[in-house]
Symmetry: C2
Amino acid sequence: MKVALAQLNYHIGNFEANTAKIISAIAEAKTRGADLVVFAELAVCGYSPLDLLENDEFIRACDEAVAEIAGHCEGIAAIVGAPQKNASAGAKGLYNVAYFLADGAIRSVTRKALLPTYDVFDENRYFESNALLQTLDYQGTRIALTICEDLWNLDDPSLYPSTPMDTLVLEQPDILINIAASPFSYRHDEDRRRVLSANAIKYKRPLFYLNHVGAQTEIIFDGGSLVFDGTGRLKAEMAYFSEDIQIFDTECIASAEAIGGQQLNDIAQIHEALVLGIRDYFNKSGFSTAVLGLSGGIDSAVVCALACEALGSENVLAVLMPSNFSSEHSIKDALDLVAAAGCKHEIVGIAPAAAAFDSMLANAFSGLPFNLTEENIQARCRGIVLMAMANKFGHILLNTSNKSECAVGYGTLYGDMCGALSVIGDVYKTQVFALARYLNREQCIIPENTIVKPPSAELRPDQKDSDSLPDYALLDQVLYQHIEGKMGQEALIAAGFEAELVHRVLALVNRAEFKRHQAPPILRVSPKAFGSGRRMPIVAKYSV
Amino acid sequence: MKVALAQLNYHIGNFEANTAKIISAIAEAKTRGADLVVFAELAVCGYSPLDLLENDEFIRACDEAVAEIAGHCEGIAAIVGAPQKNASAGAKGLYNVAYFLADGAIRSVTRKALLPTYDVFDENRYFESNALLQTLDYQGTRIALTICEDLWNLDDPSLYPSTPMDTLVLEQPDILINIAASPFSYRHDEDRRRVLSANAIKYKRPLFYLNHVGAQTEIIFDGGSLVFDGTGRLKAEMAYFSEDIQIFDTECIASAEAIGGQQLNDIAQIHEALVLGIRDYFNKSGFSTAVLGLSGGIDSAVVCALACEALGSENVLAVLMPSNFSSEHSIKDALDLVAAAGCKHEIVGIAPAAAAFDSMLANAFSGLPFNLTEENIQARCRGIVLMAMANKFGHILLNTSNKSECAVGYGTLYGDMCGALSVIGDVYKTQVFALARYLNREQCIIPENTIVKPPSAELRPDQKDSDSLPDYALLDQVLYQHIEGKMGQEALIAAGFEAELVHRVLALVNRAEFKRHQAPPILRVSPKAFGSGRRMPIVAKYSV
């Protein structure tokens, strides 16, 4: 049997576009001789529609899309992911299902058994679990069809009580198909190959794995759909970070040559993911032009270069906003970047606004010294200028804060924390440096001086980040073990970090929760990003 | 048997304070002759600790707190809620449990069966479900102990496959005890009485229900612990919105006089809840003074009056920030309120800052007319002034946006949407008027002119809210049916709202998702508040 894997980029709730894309892929697969074409988990509505699933009309729109798609399945069958109402009397829940469509109609429905409810996943909020999976037969091939997580309890058997594949394989399927919505992190490609290969080995069947591609605000899907033979060897790997339709003959998988699979390093993957994340945010929200503040520092330089790559440099406006504390080299470094990246720029000094606030507040602040308040006023004046540019010209403001700053609260709410989308809020400062070097791999875009000078917010004379924070090389290690590694203070100290440092850093992380609560959505590239995957109380007395 | 219900206000993660409070209540209950004292669900750590539960050291701190509390249970038993590790080999999950403590030690553990995973609840994210509940015996009394949701499937049998009480009651308990963490909404007191009474009737046993009291950032617990006899009649009702410890003799419940229970109207309940919500946010975050912007309009007037009540008027600073478009009466109305409420005030005109931005942006905006951009600049200048006051003096900025504005995006991000806590972001504009009247019930605090004048943002000459929005009386109806009622556009039109109005309002609600994502936490008083209870994709093409 010839199986087409259609790895597509959907838009949440955009039924018209998603349905048209699916129907077009069915036609293409048919033209190319496929017997069956496979689409991703919740393909008709995009992943994840979240609480839109609670609206009856949204589910009806899904049903209608499936019916329309089924009408195009003549001479070819299709597997399409969608939500489905539990039709039992008195029930009002949903299933997360894979429709099997053939001969112009729905032939069968496979319901997801294991519902991930951790990190960014909330499937138990929306779906009921299905206790029993059954194989389906098509053109003499018996297919064990599962949905994403259903294959993942091999990775951590403690997560779920049941192992749906163990019973499913008793029905002697010929092939395994898994449709997924498996978000990117720079670790995920290896995990995925390992877990899927282990399934093929355990169940001794070839496995066809089909993933989403594209970004849904903060969640990025990297594609990378895979085919394994019945001994767990990788036989095909589809495009990463772009749409792809490929056709495989089930008879030829065993004899195909084994391949190694993607070996991109973390930084290269993060680069691809962020470019796609920016591009899809603009495409899907209907905007085409970006504005950002360019300080001469490394964070905004990297975001500017990524935006130029994602949107075209002609669609990026960099705004330089020097203050009385900005150094000469900052303007020069920023202009060097503008020249190298080829984007537009404006220079708007903030001194007049800062002075206006000083005079307006002179009475109330009479006799009190310059402190963090005045530093914040400068950052917030920049926020106003950037938002004014965005409002006046219909640009989207990109935020340029990095993960280290987000973690410890080293940023001004309503100031440098402004923006519709945080591009590098899941990238630690030390990774930002590596990303800058990577962006310069073919030609110098990020000025060398931007990379080598000591980081500074330039909000008071001779300020350096290291005045307030531990060196990033050390800080990022503590943060990584705490956030990604979920290590508490005792564990961190036992691991060799100094107690004083640990207490200081964890107290900062805890105290910054109220700021992160109002941060823009952050493109997720790590296994544990700030945002919907990490839910912390705001007013808690605890810094573990 | 004499049962003490200890309805207390906990602080998430504050083990020292929570443990001390529990131990002190044990001593008090013992002094007052109780045999058993009952504390709430997850009492030792507060509800809900969210992802703090994923940290081993946090769970260890819970274990240590329980051990310490057990040491104080001599001559009295206690029921205390806490998380507990699943100790089975290979398991790494948690249970949400009620410890039964007596004779200085843990006597037994009751695990929660039904785990709410909807609206603000995420219990499936953290806990494993317990399949089998068992009664426990103490001093000749057989107790059927359950945790919160375990009694709620009577209300909606479709939600859960199992009915834990149905098996538990086969063991012939003498009394039912339910420990809860049941968040306030202005509908919840009636729902709670109905559901709990139905349990007492169905199982023919007296029921002791113990709830949390106090606010954890946006989630407010109203207390109102209840006692029913075995025929479902309400026999006792504890304080609302404050701590309370009461002792009941199980032998005397049947013969006690039946009572009606709280009959406060919605607005009176909302008033109580918001005052508690403000007070606890400050108490638990270690701040004591608030700042807010006072426009002369009704929203900021109501928030100011609530803050004065919650914190003491001497701890509230109202900042009047007139612009070139502010009317004479706005200043007068604001000053009238300041005089009536007795709070401090400052007047900081924003014209100099607005003019500075105009000149700074003159080049970039050359030839373009005044529009929303300049309106937003004014709102954002006010945000800077307020945050400067908060930063300089250590105040917390209270946000004054109402739910109608939040819903349709009629507010400026980083402008009037600033603040650490949104006080009335779950109160529709029409309810804000009712709240103002309620606040004036004994003496006039909110000036009459503030209540009767047409709402205006005063960001351009002669601006009125009704220029941009439908009348609030109509808008709020559509919003309520859409948000609380989960009605989509077809349902709303079928219910009699004009199609054009419905499309316009729902498109606004959908488009404002990116703003709400960056809004402050909102005190939850309705059955469906913006925030963690309503999770929507940001870039979706759907306005149902």
